[in-house]
């Protein structure tokens, strides 16, 4: 742990020094870029609500709201559809052509149609986030179900399990590692989509929205502060799922390289 803190502080300091010198040697224009010596105090000011027009904590709440809207629906629909597609050959054959055709369309390409249909609402942002995170969750779940070892299903059958019991007691736990991979990848994409979805002004708050407003103000120190904030929240979210995965997949300890 101590060693880790040591490495983190070394690498962050090197990065900050590099950034600071880069600014003073090559840019030297406060309207184009800000050095860390300016960004850090700005960030502190923003996160402690001391700025009259940029309320960072409120923006975090709004962005998390958009994220929750889109990501939770992607979780519910993605996991259940993935389980069904992995479980039933017919459904798999019926649905996979649609999935394969829609999947390559980037979430950003859905923004215009989503704004036309849903107007500038929270739901419109949620929809973009849903599109972004749905496919990784669906595909990983389906992959997990498809790669459940046959012997586990046979053991369950010989021990007298019903079809539903096999789904609940064999297929789902056996695909859990894969489902969690889907959740983590999906959450990462969802968080990226939050920024993209908010850029178009679906609401007057949100990290993605403010970053664009700050650009219009020509305030790179605010832009970068928001970038830092987006990075930190995304990192925190990923750690939540990492923690949950280690909790739910305790049985895998000792089976896989960590």
């Amino acid at each position: 742990m101590k060693l880790r803190i040591f490495y983190v502080s070394i690498s962050v300091s090197i990065f900050l020094i590099f950034w600071e010198t880069f600014y003073y040697f090559f840019i030297r224009d406060p309207f184009l870029l800000a050095p860390p010596s300016k960004v850090i105090p700005t960030f502190v000011k923003l996160i402690t609500l001391q700025d009259p027009s940029f309320k960072m904590p409120v923006d975090i709440v709004f962005s998390l709201y958009h994220y929750a809207l889109g990501f939770s629906s992607a979780l519910i629909i993605g996991i259940s559809l993935g389980l069904l597609m992995g479980f039933s050959r017919t459904l798999e054959n019926l649905l996979s052509p649609i999935v394969e055709l829609i999947r390559p369309i980037p979430p950003i390409a859905w923004i215009p149609i989503s704004i036309l249909l849903l107007k500038l609402t929270h739901t419109a942002a949620g929809f973009i986030i849903f599109i972004g995170s749905f496919f990784p969750i669906l595909l990983n779940t389906r992959h997990g179900v498809a790669s459940v070892e046959k012997k586990f299903v046979e053991v369950a059958l010989t021990l007298g399990a019903s079809r539903f019991e096999i789904l609940r007691k064999v297929i789902i736990p056996a695909s859990m590692p894969s489902i969690f991979t889907g959740i983590r990848v999906g959450s990462g994409v969802a968080w990226m989509c939050v920024v993209a979805a908010e850029l178009f002004g679906v609401s007057a708050y949100g990290l993605g929205y403010q970053i664009e407003i700050a650009r219009l103000y020509h305030a790179p120190e605010i832009v970068i502060s928001y970038m830092v904030c987006i990075g930190l929240v995304g990192y925190a979210l990923d750690n939540v799922y990492k923690f949950l995965a280690s909790r739910f997949l305790r049985w895998r300890r000792g089976l896989v390289v960590e």
């Binding site: 586990f152 046979e154 053991v155 059958l157 007298g160 049985w251 000792g254």
Partner: protein, 243 residues
Amino acid sequence: MSSEVLRVSNLRKRFNDLLVIDSISFSIKSGEFFCILGPSGCGKTTLLRIIAGFEDYEGEVLLKGEKIKKPGPDRVLVFQDYALFPWRTVIGNVLFGIESKLQKREALKVAEEMLKLVGLEGFEKSYPHELSGGMKQRVALARALVCDPAILLMDEPLSALDAQTRMEMQAELVKIWQRTKKTIVYVTHSIEEAVFLADRILVLSKRPARAKALVEVKLERPRNRFDAKFTEISQKIYDLLKD
């Protein structure tokens, strides 16, 4: 040794055009330890999977007079590689077959008693990957036994173990069999193992599997591998397999 539990008559099995089992007939008595012995790849595992209900077949396979069509807990199959659920603890694995049929407390009691019988007290909360091969096989055995099957089907269950553990497990298995009075159908390719364990041994030929002989082993238990009669029977089966 009273009633007949399983009757197999004129059993044939094809995979596409390949004939794997060619008209085999035998019957198994209740409480019997029955070994199926044959060379690798002869179709003995297929025969066991047919009894377990995993394969279709031609001919007749009757469990207490009823035709076997699908797998069920009256004929639990113990797999060669244990196939323990890695996401369940030892007790969780043993509970699998009974947790939805019995009340929670009762199921737990049955499972704990069974773990005691196979000698795994104190390992309830361990995960399969924390156990040795012999212990895993004990869990698999306990998981099958709690279902109280009419027949216990075992597919070379000890073949992945080292020689010494295998011998210990064989002796243990005989004890468990004597205590539970289960009917066991045991597939193996080891002559010595079959002679050590079985009441009767069905000797199969190379593929397609045909019944070469049905050898009765009338030795007292616990058996001694170095006994003259033991070697005599082994020699006889060895000669049978050779030609």
